[in-house]
Amino acid sequence: MTSAPVTLQESPPSPGPIRQWLISPIGAQLTAIVVFVGLWQLLTLIAERVPGPAEVANFLYVEITGGSHGGIVTGEFWEHFAITLRRFSAGLFIGFTAGLLIGVVIGSYGMARALLNDTVLVLLTMPAFVWAFLTTMWFGISWRAPVLTVAFVAFPFVAINVAQGVRAITPDLRNMSAAFEVSRWKQFRHLILPAVAGYIFAGLRFAIIVGWNAILLSEWFSGQAGVGFRTRYWFDANRYRGFVGWVIVFIFFIVVLDRVVLNRLQTRAFRWRDPIEVEVELAQQEQVGV
């Protein structure tokens, strides 16, 4: 290998301020959004039935502010949203509580684990729409179906995570506590609770995400009110801008809730753990998906 004499190179001129901003992470993300909207607009030119961004935005504006869509009376946006939120919270509460209880039991007793684990696994594998069907078959068109769909869908996620958290309390730490004769209450407060808190939270977060998707499904199939119902309403009416608009509302809520609120809280709850390890574990949980 031979190299010719090289003089000290000057570094290339740094890019101008606009270009620099464009290359930055924020610039890139915003560019992505702009490009996406542009592509969407392009798509509407090709496919006739696809509603364009402007139409959807307009629809949403009218729907949310309570105007009228050229003859079709708007749904009461906030009423429907509230209805869905109420059902969602109720179902989540049921699923979470049951999951917490069963999770603690499974995590604490090997026998319980042997008996219950496979049942929970089956429940985990069941698709949400099946629960939507079953609850509708059981309870007909009512509020019960969505609430219970959410409960059934959320329950296994909570149970599995909580069980994992309880099992993660290593015997070493328990032995140490026993050796130092730490009181039961102190053990609970400083050993068990913090250790499990992170997992409980992870379970809750998954439950929220899958539960939210589940309620959309359930209200779609068996609704008489709520976000899912409205989504279907516009779909059935062949007004796809309405369909897309409501879907956006639906996604927007959960993305904001998850990224802004839950993500922060989870990082706090898991503060003491190795972040990479946490990510890997959670990814394994996500394995079974919605």
Binding site: M1, T2, S3, P5, V6, L8, Q9, S11
Partner: protein, 248 residues
């Protein structure tokens, strides 16, 4: 028999943080190596030893000066041994040996593996071997391409003392049998004296501090009194050059 010709080499890295100073890894090195000699490059951390090897092997480019590594009229073929064995973990030992070749030199690969005592490992994965064995494969690999110039970057520094001693013996066996030109980077003066014909001492900032010739026959045993004497003498000179705070 390679010829290495380095003239006024310098390597300056841009500052690691904004507003900091550029990092001079190599300030000014001029050096000629000719013939089938074992040359060690010794120095503390930050004296540019690894950077020098990186430039010689083409992984980095110099920012000043010239570097020429030739075998007669053509560019020299290189072999390289790293601190960590750098074997592809998803390929067997034999596949690793063949990866660095451009022909199917199965027999050559097998021969060199035998010379380091690893004939039984052809179809094993690196994960099944100990650190010392992996490094032996790394050395066999470097020798098996029959390079004109062999670059070795602190190859034994990650091994325990016993394994390192054994590997030094393997290395000497290989070298006396093949007599390649070797550039061997190490921070261990004692090791350098045992192995080399010539020791080049670098100072921090990447300049040559000293150039010492060792005139003893090969292969050298670590326990040989003549070797030990040389080691003591050179260590003494080091003490004078870089006095430590601890009493002698």
């Amino acid at each position: 028999m390679a010829r290495v010709d380095i003239q006024r080499l310098s390597k300056i890295f841009p500052p690691p943080q904004k507003g900091g100073d550029p990092v001079t890894a190599i300030g000014d090195i001029s050096l000629e190596v000719d013939g089938n000699v074992f040359v060690s490059i010794v120095g503390p951390s930050g004296c540019g030893k690894s950077t020098l090897l990186n430039i010689l092997s083409g992984v980095e480019n110099p920012t000043g000066g010239t570097v020429s590594v030739t075998e007669g009229a053509r560019p020299a073929h290189l072999g390289y041994v790293f601190q960590d064995a750098r074997l592809l973990p998803w390929r067997t030992v034999m596949q690793n040996m063949l990866y660095v070749r451009d022909d199917d030199g199965d027999e050559k690969a097998a021969r060199y593996l035998e010379m380091v005592g690893l004939s039984h490992t052809h179809d094993m994965f690196p994960g099944q071997l100990s650190g010392g064995m992996q490094q032996r494969v790394g050395i066999a690999r470097a020798f098996s391409v029959e390079p004109d110039l062999l670059l070795m970057d602190e190859p034994f520094s990650h091994l325990d003392a016993i394994t390192a001693r054994s590997l030094r013996d393997h290395l000497q066996e290989l070298w006396t049998a093949t007599r390649k030109t070797v550039l061997f980077v190490t921070h261990d003066v004692v090791e350098a004296v045992q192995l080399s014909d010539r020791i080049i001492v670098l100072a921090p900032g990447g300049r040559i501090f000293d150039d010492i010739a060792i005139d003893l026959p090969h292969p050298r045993r670590a326990a040989d009194p003549k070797v030990a004497t040389q080691q003591a003498e050179i260590l003494g000179r080091f003490e004078e050059m870089h006095p430590t705070s601890a009493p002698a």
